[in-house]
Every structure is written in structure tokens, then in C-alpha cells.
């Protein structure tokens, strides 16, 4: 069974929101930001990107990362969750065998065509999944 976050409001928020800003450290130690789609499954945030991307290079060298997951532009109250933890690169076949089918999910605003292409590239190994288990979680913005 997946571990529960200590903050149930954060977990509820993460289940309902996918808009994620991943923060990594570049080789020179400066922070950089990657806007992405994040899916919360089984106590971890899952991201999906190119194996040869700068973000994968950064988090392979320095696995400590932060993620800011926020509401969409059209939601009246701006809210978010900040996670800090360690990132792990998971090849797609392992992730699929492991249970949470991050490949099958289609986030809001992403077309079936894009989702199909992403799945093909995961299967080819051109894309990988990134798994982040939070070590610290905090709420930001106008949570009720």
C-alpha cells in the first residue's frame, strides 16, 4: 500500500493537478526550471521526458530536486504544493511492470495524438519516466 503523505490536503491536491515545475541543479550548481506534466501515483510524482534531455542529465548528476505543482490558469484560487526529494530515472518497461501505469494516463489539455506519440517513444526507450518520492511537502497559495 502506498504511503500517505502527512499532509492529506497535499495528497488530494496532487491527485487533482498535473501542472508541474521541476527544479534541478545545473552542473555549475545554479537552479533551473522545467515546466512539465506530473502524475501523482502510489506516493510518488511521475514525470516523463526525453532520456537525453538536460533535466535527465542534471538529475542524474544531482538527484535532489524540487517540484512546484500548481493550479491551472483558469482556476479562481491559486494554490500549489511544493515537494522536495530525490529523483530516480525509471526506464518505461520497468515502470510498466512495476504497477503504476503512468504511460496510460492522459493529463488534461494533452491530446490523444500526443499521448500516443509519447507512449511510442517510451517503448522505444527515447523517453524515460522520472519518479520523485517526496521527503518534504508544503502547501502554498490559497488553500481553504
Amino acid at each position: 500500500m502506498a504511503p500517505r503523505l502527512e499532509t492529506p490536503a497535499a495528497e488530494d491536491f496532487l491527485r487533482a493537478h498535473t501542472r508541474t515545475f521541476l527544479l534541478t541543479l545545473r552542473p555549475d550548481g545554479a537552479p533551473t526550471c522545467h515546466p512539465m506534466v506530473g502524475l501523482w501515483r502510489d506516493g510518488a510524482l511521475w514525470l516523463n521526458t526525453y532520456r537525453k534531455s538536460a533535466k535527465v542529465r542534471n538529475l542524474t548528476a544531482e538527484p535532489r530536486v524540487a517540484c512546484v505543482v500548481v493550479t491551472d490558469d483558469d482556476e479562481p484560487r491559486f494554490r500549489g504544493v511544493v515537494l522536495r526529494g530525490r529523483a530516480e530515472v525509471v526506464p518505461a518497461p520497468v515502470a510498466v511492470a512495476g504497477g503504476p501505469d503512468a504511460r496510460a494516463a492522459r493529463p488534461p489539455g494533452v491530446s490523444a495524438e500526443v499521448t500516443h506519440r509519447v507512449r511510442e517513444r517510451l517503448a522505444e526507450g527515447k523517453r524515460v519516466l522520472i519518479r520523485i518520492v517526496p521527503e518534504a511537502v508544503r502547501l502554498v497559495g490559497e488553500h481553504g
Partner: protein, 119 residues
Amino acid sequence: MARQRVHMSAEEVAAFLAAKRRAIVGTRAPDGGPDGEPAALACAGGEVRFSVPRDGPTARNLRHDPRLVVSVEEFPSYAGIKGVAVHGRAVAVGDDGERTSFRVAAPRIESFDFAKMPR
């Protein structure tokens, strides 16, 4: 990705940032790992400025290491994604007792506009 093909022009970046009121600011925490926080954005006259709670993580982190990234992204649909990231150093420019304001010195800008993607 051929990033140069989907860049915004300097004018487009300035207009995009001037219209936005919120950004995600990335910093490095004293423990050495990256950190992030939403910030109130106010860009004008070619300067990137933002404010955060004075006792929050971003203001604290920037006192240790002024390097930062300010990220603004618009995501109406996948084909409509536009974003700007400003890398630089934070310089504190004001404090009203609750929030600290910063400007970004020596900014280096990256941008992308998926509508410019060849298809």
C-alpha cells in the same frame, strides 16, 4: 528539440512577461538542493522583478546563494504552450515588512512558443 526555431523574439518575451502576475522562482537551499516557490511577478521597462514572503524559503535561500531562475509558462493546450525562463542573480530592492522584492541582475533568457513548431 530545435529550440532556436521556437524562440520568442525579445519584444514577444517582454510583452509576455509584462502581462503575467505570477512566476515560479527556483533557488538553491542552504542544504544544497534546489527549492521552488510561486512569486508575485511585476516586469516593466525591461526589468524582471518579483516579490516573495520575507520569511519564506525563497528569500532565505537567496541570502545564501543569489542565483535563481524565474519561470513563467502558459499552458492553454499542448500546441499553445509558451514559456520564458530568466536565469540570473537576485538583488533585493525592497521590503515592506511582509514581502521582499527582488530584481534579476544579469538576466539570461530562454523562451519557447510551441505555436512556432514546424508541423
